[in-house]
């Protein structure tokens, strides 16, 4: 596989996972801000619901491009509760992830139409359970694709959610000091966890040894460092922009939080390309 095949082939999954994680992170920060600052304005809630739904729908639409025949998706109900193979009960993670995304979208509709507070508080719970199922898809293959790990994938996905959620809230909803402080705190915490997850993943993969190739990073044709390092630099840059936004005159900073959101998205997307680029089983397909 050439590098362009790796990038283009998995691009729908890259967009789906990153955007869905942004939606989950945003729901957490919004729920926290609603709780802390009694942000009960119905219009704000409905706006949040609309943005959340837009992100969830964008993720779902992106994921459809990874499917050859999406019309067969209802068959996923067959494995929703898992299935038995060789006397062992197997958890089927992908249907659970789709179920989670579906519930997230329904709750998003509820918030958008009614501004439901219960739905706002339920969203982060459903969201992080969905991220757990999302991590399970890759973690369950860890024995066969040794470059993936359940725990590290969950850490990476949660960190991405916090990082992107903080930036998204800051760009669209943060108005009062308390909200700005909370979203910045979540962004910084997310960045630290994100960098830690990437570091641990890189150390994990440095230890991975498969017979077919001398070094698993060769699967990315020598560009692993560029994607991960470049992604980290961009996310760091976005964080700096958000921090300096408060120190610069307002005329310089009117759209800086939205610019930093775009930069952080590009950064996370770049690192996600590296995640999907190390699928060792693709080696034999060619």
């Amino acid at each position: 596989m050439t590098l362009s095949n790796i990038i283009i082939g998995e691009l729908p999954l890259v967009f789906f996972t990153v955007v869905a994680q942004a939606a989950v992170g945003l729901s957490l920060v919004y729920a926290l801000c609603t709780k802390l600052s009694s942000n009960a304005k119905i219009d704000s809630r409905k706006n949040f619901g609309a943005l959340f739904l837009a992100l969830a729908c964008f993720g779902i639409i992106a994921s459809v491009f990874h499917l050859g025949d999406p019309l067969h998706a209802p068959y996923m109900i067959l494995r929703m509760a898992g299935f038995s193979q060789n006397g062992t009960w197997i958890v089927s993670w992908l249907p659970l992830e789709i179920l989670g995304i579906g519930i997230m979208a329904l709750l998003g509709i509820l918030v958008m139409l009614r501004g439901s507070l219960i739905a706002i508080y339920a969203l982060p719970f459903v969201g992080f359970l969905t991220l757990f199922a999302m991590s399970g898809i890759y973690g369950s293959m860890a024995q066969i694709v040794p470059t993936w790990s359940f725990g590290l994938t969950f850490l990476l996905f949660c960190a991405s959610a916090l990082l992107l959620g903080g930036f998204t809230y800051r760009a669209f909803f943060a108005e009062v000091t308390k909200e700005i402080a909370l979203s910045s705190l979540v962004s910084i915490g997310g960045f630290v966890l994100f960098a830690l997850a990437l570091l641990l993943y890189t150390l994990h993969n440095a230890e991975v040894r498969i017979d077919a190739i001398a070094n698993v990073f060769d699967l990315m044709h020598g560009y692993y460092g560029c994607f991960v390092g470049g992604g980290l630099i961009l996310t760091g840059l976005a964080l700096m922009l958000n921090i300096y936004k408060d120190l610069l005159p307002e005329s310089f900073t009117c759209n800086m939080s939205k610019l930093s959101l775009v930069i952080v998205f590009i950064g996370v997307l770049a690192t996600r390309v590296a995640f999907y680029g190390l699928i060792t089983t693709h080696f034999f397909i060619g």
């Binding site: 025949d69 067969h72 068959y75 996923m76 060789n86 992908l94 369950s140 293959m141 066969i144 060619g286």
Partner: protein, 217 residues
């Protein structure tokens, strides 16, 4: 072959010369598009060249051998576990096959299979894979790859009989260890072949080195 017996393949690495006739016969028989090869031949090579006292290069443990691999219709298939719809299933002869009427083409099975057996057919939008030429088995014939091999390096049949005749070795570099999916495969290893996870060479895949989009055959 009886339908209640488990189907499997035998590969004699000492006979395989990597001519890819099996791969081409399979592609021709199944009319597979570019990029889809149910049977694939890969070369595994290792060793190095060292300078002798006359400053001339001479080989040092240099070796190369071939693996002709299709679906091994594993006893514990990873592809069926990863399939979200149950399209990937085990049927007659223990053959693992795709029910295209249920397949969503999500490629999870391709990610999960350590042998690269399930492959996405972008013309149909579904996954496709080796079905052991089941229709030929029904008529008492061998799979097309077996009949096509000019060196008789591949055999197929009930795995219990193949193992009785040729032994139980299935984990040979660069293939994964037997325990991972319990493939119905037995291999007569080439003299330089090493057990899985203990190889000191690298797989040589032309499509990786020549930077073409897909395997051109």
């Amino acid at each position: 072959m009886e339908k209640n017996k488990h189907f499997g393949f035998y590969l004699d690495q000492t006979r395989c010369v990597g001519c890819r006739t099996c791969q081409l016969a399979c592609k021709d028989y199944h009319d597979s598009p570019i990029g889809v090869s149910y049977r694939r031949v890969s070369e595994y090579e290792g060793g190095s060249w060292v300078k002798n006292e006359n400053n001339l290069l001479q080989p040092f443990n240099v070796f190369a051998y071939y693996n002709s691999i299709a679906c091994n219709h594993c006893d514990d298939p990873a592809c069926t576990k990863a399939c979200p719809t149950g399209a990937m299933h085990m049927g007659d002869y223990g053959i693992v096959d795709v029910d295209t009427s249920k397949c969503i083409g999500c490629k999870s099975c391709a990610m999960a299979c350590p042998y690269g057996a399930p492959q996405f057919n972008k013309h149909t939008g579904h996954m496709s894979k080796c079905n052991g030429c089941q229709e030929r088995l029904d008529e008492g014939m061998m799979p097309i790859c077996v009949d096509a091999c000019p060196f008789r390096a591949i055999e197929a049949g009930p795995i219990s009989e193949l193992r009785e005749k040729h032994g139980h070795i299935a984990g040979v570099t660069p293939l994964p260890a037997y325990e991972i999916t319990r493939p119905n495969l037995c291999i007569k290893p080439e003299k330089n072949a090493q057990p899985s996870n203990k190889g000191n060479g690298t797989a040589h895949l032309p499509q990786t080195l020549s930077e073409v989009s897909y395997d051109i055959v």
